[in-house]
Every structure is written in structure tokens, then in C-alpha cells.
Symmetry: C2
Subunit: 415 residues, 2 copies
């Protein structure tokens, strides 16, 4: 099935927001076996929106709209599509009841324009909005499928995930839908991973094997056509096992989570605590960890030892190690080890990670940009120190370093 | 002038990357007074790209392409446009020389396909690529302007900024181009800011006044038509002064930088040092600061005092303050003050910021999600403690809290 995504909103044409909805929907469609050939962005303008619909109808079998379902007069996606299809707009009573209840519960008078959000095109199926007010629509007419979703991602995504996906699977009845599973890797680059799986990737038929890299992590998506996720999982099990046999050392999850989340789960299972000492990552590692709700169960805190003064005074790295002729310097295995071991003592944690390196853009202590030392200390165990050299700009080196440090802790935790 | 942005790349249709290029170019065009009516995304496919060009030519006077200028056979934007315009592709010798020199310097044999990146459409102007290999193109034919830019943002943006912008200004000769200036605010919400400027915004003619909010900061863009940036600045000076008179307390820069950068500049000017103690922001404040190259001049480091244990043992917050019946608790003015003052002593810094609050999703110590206390300590001066309540999800509350803390330090630094 060929699809076109139409994002409606003048704020996109002005560059005030980035079209992340198109990316999300493109990913979701690809994962379901729906082909996207075009994406269009059009403003809150009746004539141009109509033109975009007419064009999309000629070149796609499925048109997914995002945006323009809100209460204001700018929000005209439903009106324009209804006129294009020569259908009426009717009230979706359950949505109207929800909107009324919302205002009543807060003791606020409802502005009449809010009722617009409960309108739907006659003959369409309602897609419920669990996180907002505007009801979504889905319908098939003259062989074209139309799906209308709200613009705000926190409304659009749950509506797609919980309602639109099932609706699409129903209209794709004849073509058995694709189901996927995600394998998440850290500590290995995309090209090394592809190399290890080259024979599988080249001979792939069913399931399909699609690797792609996100910063500091690599994902493989396996997809197969099946009648349900459970049936798909069974069909993919032997391929998953083959990949696990080869790359199990780097495979930290079989679902779409970050390595920080995998690490926090293992720490919670072991009832263990963690502290971090960050030099070149400058707080990013802690920020990644604390972006996960519930991280306070295991994460005690850390030291941002950005200056040598802090490395020496708080974490007891000897001055002779940090500075002077022939000293290893702040960016060294020796310093990484002292940082991690002293942190373990200072914070009384079960595990401690240290990171020290050169984030750039300029070399430091004569050491090249991207060189990073990572220490992983554990109570009663020898400390692990590794070094890696990352490429990229300052932000990317910080991110890759934080992810690599989490990977080495993860490995220690699963050993 | 009406413009259409065409992003070329199957990776966009598959959702592997998000189309940030379209946002950047839309912003740039809006700032220059060029109207964007449509944005299109099309894959690496000859027939469909040709269709997109043909359509855009009918509805726009300027077509900006991104992507498809690379070395591989997938990269066909130049080929397809040249065929569409019935023009030859010719070699741009300076680009070819640069590519050859790159490979020679690294002692690598150049694969022939790399020469494709030096091709340009006959009769077009070359747009140099200072950060990559593929040369850009710009030309006018039959009243339509075509600008071809590479896909990777780190190549596309410098090419647009340094070459395409001037080229566009030349072809816009008849319409005097728009020039802008940015005013950046922190510590005030978008609606309060709009309210303070309502009369100016409602009566705006020249310059135009466009406020927009980014997370934790607000920007006002003033724009006016002029023959140069200098002339524009003169035309806008009295409006800038009027805004400064009303909102100077929140106006931290007259250029597009973050509050962290403004703070770092002031610290460097004063030759002063900074340390931070982060509880609910969990490292994000340090991460923001250390994302600025050169931050090590002023930033010593910090303590991520996520647990009460760290607050007590490293930063000497009394246990009786943190826990027990009637204690102020970790999220309190008292704790924020001790954290900032003890940090100043521990780190021997000139300034210290502390942040403690409830990032959510659940309340803590019976305190509501979003409540945050910020301490700003300075050697020899009384400590400032403020509290704010932020709305939003966990990540947004962290970000707004970090930005607000930087704002209060900025205010102290300019006092």
C-alpha cells in the first residue's frame, strides 16, 4: 500500500517547529509494510490544503494527515477534507462528553470553539484521543484511505499506537501486516555489527533484517508478516537466536529502550547503587540516567570533576598524576582508575563509573580529540579501565562516551 | 517570492532521520522575507523526483533542494534536475581539486564516484562546500530560481549561511531583502513577555515583531527591509531600545545564543569560577554548560546530589533538615541555601548554583511536581534563594529549572 503523509500547519512552514510527526509516522508505516513515497507540508490555508489532498489522492492509497484538528479557526483539516469528499461534519458524542466533563471538572466555562474538536466526518470511524480533546478520524472512500491525527506529538502518537494502527491493519486485511521486533546493541559500531551479520543480511528473506544506528547505539529491526505479534515472534525466534549467538555480548535489550534504562533495571534487580564521576562528559551521563523516572532507586549522584582541582581535592587524584613532566595526565587510564575507586569510597555506592577524555574541539594534554578513558569500579572487585576513541563533534563525543561507559557497566552487571 | 523546499532522500521516507533541514531553511527563508507555501519530501527515485520538480515549478518561484549531491548512484538530484532543465553537467574544477587534495593528503586512493561530487549544472553558480565535498548549485532559468544544497546539516548550513544567502539576496534585488535581529530572554514566560509588549506587537509595522518560545527561553525576532544588516540595525534601534526599557531585566543577549553561553561570557570577563549542585536536574545544568566549548575556563565542576545521602555527606545538609516530622525536606529553600553555600566552600569557586525540586512524574515529600528551589551563592555576598513552579513532563521540568537557575546567576552577574 502506498502512503502519503500530509502535515498541516503554518508553524512548520515558518520553521517554528520541526516535523517530527512525519518521522514517527514514516517509521510506523515502514514497520507495518506500508510504502511512503511522498511527504508534504502545507500551511493552514484552505485552497492549498485542498490542492495537497487532490494531489495525494492521485499518487497514494493512504493519506495520513497530522495537525489542524484543534479548536481555532486556523484548524481546518476536517472542514477542508469533508468539503473535498462532499461529506458533512457530525458530532462525536463521546468526545463531546469528554470535553464538557474536562471543563466542568475544572470549573471553567467552555468556549464554544472547543466543540469543534468533537466533530468528525460523516461515515468515518472515530479515533479516540486519550491525551487531548480533538477526536481523530479514519475512513475509506473510493479506494482511498484517510487517517486524520492531531498535531501535538503527545496526542498524535498514542492515537496512532492505540487506535490508528489497528484500523490500518483492518483495511490491510488482504495484505498480511508486518510485525517487528527490535534488538538493541551498545558497545559496537554499525559497520562492525553489519559485518558480523553480513551473510544473514545478504541472504535475508523472512524476517527482514534492518540495522540502523542512533547516536551511541545500534538497533536491528526484524520484521515478518503474520496474523499477530505472537505469531510473528515465533517466526522470528530462530533468527533472533542466531543474532544473539554472534552478538550477545552487545545485545542489551529486545525492546526499544536506551542502555541507561537497561542498566537501571539490572541495578534495581540487584538492589545495588551507582555513582558517577564525569570529566569530559560534563554531566551528560548523569542527565541520561536521571531522565529515567525511578532512577533515584539506584542512582545516588555524582561528581562533575571538570577541573583538575576537583579531581584532586574531591577524588584524591595525586597532583603528580595530573600535572608535570611525564605525568599520565587527567586523560589517562591511571586517572580514570583513581576517579572510579575514590568515588566508590566517597559515595559508598556498590558501583562507580568514571569518564575522562578529550571532547574537543581542541586536543588537550597533547592527546587527540575523541580519546576517552572509562573506569568501572565495583565493591570488592578489580576495577576495569578501558579506552576508546570516538569521532564526531563535541556533543557527539560526549554522548558516545556516556553510552560506552553505560555499556561497560552493563557488561559487568550481566557477567 | 514564493518558495518550496524539496528534501530528497529515502532515509526521510523511512523515518530513519528527521527533516531538520526543512525547519532550518524555513526559518532562514522566513527571516529573509521569502514565503514558504509547501515542503516536499521525496525518495531517491528519478521519476518521483522529476514529478516533484515539475509540480514545484508550477507553484513556486524558488525551489530549494537538500540532499542527493553525494558520490553514490543513489544521489541523483543534480542528474535529474539537469535532465529536467535540459542542461549538461560540467566539472567544477576548484571542487575537484579540493576532493583530489583530500584523498592525497590522507594517502588514500580516490574512488572515481567521488568526482561526481564536483559536478554542476551548466550555467549555474557554484556554492562552495567548506565542510564537505559536494559542491552546491544555484541558477535562474525561465523565471524560476533553483538552489541545490547537500543533505548533511553540517554541510548544508554553512553553505546556506556563507554562499546561498548572498546569492538569494542578489536575485531578490528588486524586493529589498529582510534583515533580522534576535533578542533573547530568559526568566520570563512567552505570555508575560507578549503581554508586556502587547501595544508594540499589535501596532507593529516596521520592524515586524515576532516572539516565539523555545524550551526555557523566549526569542523575539525583529525584521525590517533594508539594503544591508547595518542599515537594518539602524532602522530597528529605537524599537530595540523600547523593548530593552521594558524587559531589560530578562534580555540576556541580542544574538542567537543560549543563556549558558551568556553566563560563561560574563564569568570569563570577571575572571570568576562557577560550581553547581544539582538534585532534580540530575546533571543537565552541567551538561548545558559543558556543551559550550571553552567552558573549562570558568566551570570547575559540580556535585549531582541526587540522594539525600550525598546532600548530607558531601554538602553537609543536616539530616534534621532533610528528614523527619516538620523538617523542611530536600525540596526546600533551606536545603537550596545550604547546598549552594557549602558548595562554594567545597569547590572554592566564586559562584555556586544549587537546584532542588520535584521533576516528576510523582510528587515527592508531599510537594507538587514542578516545584523547584534555586540557590545562587557568591563569595562574600548573601545567598539568593528563589522558588518557581514549572509545568511540563520530567524532561521539560529539568530543562526549565536549569535555564531558570542560569537566569538567576546571569542577573547576579550583571547587577
Amino acid at each position: 500500500m502506498k502512503a502519503e503523509i500530509i502535515a498541516v500547519g503554518t508553524e512548520l512552514l515558518l520553521g517554528q517547529i520541526v516535523n517530527t510527526n512525519a518521522q514517527y509516522l514514516a517509521q510506523q508505516c515502514a514497520a507495518m509494510g506500508i510504502d511512503g513515497y511522498f511527504q508534504t507540508v502545507v500551511g493552514d490555508n484552505e485552497a492549498r490544503l485542498k490542492q495537497a489532498i487532490s494531489l495525494a489522492k492521485d499518487r497514494a492509497e493512504l493519506i495520513i494527515f497530522t495537525g489542524g484538528l484543534g479548536p481555532t479557526l486556523d484548524d481546518l483539516t476536517k472542514d477542508v477534507l469533508a468539503a473535498f469528499l462532499q461529506r458533512e461534519l457530525i458530532m462525536h458524542q463521546p468526545s463531546m462528553d469528554r470535553i464538557t466533563a474536562f471543563f466542568e471538572a475544572r470549573g471553567i466555562a467552555m468556549v464554544e470553539s472547543n466543540a469543534r474538536q468533537a466533530l468528525m466526518i460523516a461515515g468515518s470511524d472515530a479515533l479516540l484521543n486519550d491525551t487531548g480533546m480533538a477526536v481523530g478520524n479514519a475512513m475509506t472512500l473510493d479506494g482511498t484511505h484517510y487517517v486524520l491525527l492531531p498535531g501535538p506529538p503527545r496526542e498524535m502518537k498514542p492515537m496512532f499506537e492505540n487506535y490508528a494502527k489497528d484500523w490500518l491493519r483492518t483495511v490491510m486485511r488482504d495484505e498480511m501486516p508486518l510485525y517487528s521486533t527490535m534488538l538493541k546493541f551498545c558497545g559496537i559500531g554499525e559497520s562492525s555489527l553489519e559485518h558480523a551479520l553480513l551473510d544473514l543480511i545478504e541472504s535475508q528473506q523472512d524476517p527482514t533484517i534492518a540495522p540502523y544506528a542512533k547516536e551511541g547505539e545500534v538497533t536491528i529491526r526484524l520484521s515478518t508478516k503474520a496474523h499477530s505479534q505472537e505469531a510473528a515472534n515465533l517466526q522470528m525466534a530462530s533468527t533472533v537466536q542466531m543474532i544473539r549467538d554472534r552478538l550477545g555480548l552487545y545485545l542489551y535489550a529486545q525492546e526499544d529502550i536506551g542502555i541507561e534504562q537497561a542498566v537501571l533495571r539490572l541495578l534495581a534487580e540487584k538492589n545495588a547503587t551507582l555513582a558517577v564521576a564525569e570529566s569530559c562528559t560534563g554531566g551528560l551521563l548523569s542527565d541520561l540516567i536521571t531522565s529515567i523516572s525511578g532512577s533515584s532507586t539506584s542512582f545516588l549522584g555524582g561528581i562533575i570533576c571538570y577541573s583538575n582541582q576537583v579531581k584532586h581535592e574531591l577524588l584524591r587524584v595525586p597532583t603528580t598524576m595530573l600535572e608535570g613532566e611525564g605525568a599520565p595526565g587527567a586523560v589517562s587510564a591511571e586517572t580514570a582508575q583513581v576517579l572510579a575507586e575514590q568515588l566508590l569510597i566517597l559515595m559508598k555506592s556498590d558501583y562507580a563509573i568514571s569518564i575522562t577524555g578529550v571532547a574537543g574541539p581542541n586536543p588537550s594534554e597533547g592527546k587527540p580529540v575523541g580519546l576517552v578513558y572509562i573506569g568501572v569500579a565495583q565493591k570488592g572487585q578489580p576495577t576495569l579501565v578501558v579506552n576508546v576513541t570516538h569521532s564526531g563533534g563535541r556533543d557527539l563525543i560526549k554522548l558516545k562516551s556516556a553510552k560506552t561507559a553505560l555499556y561497560h557497566l552493563w557488561k559487568r552487571l550481566v557477567e
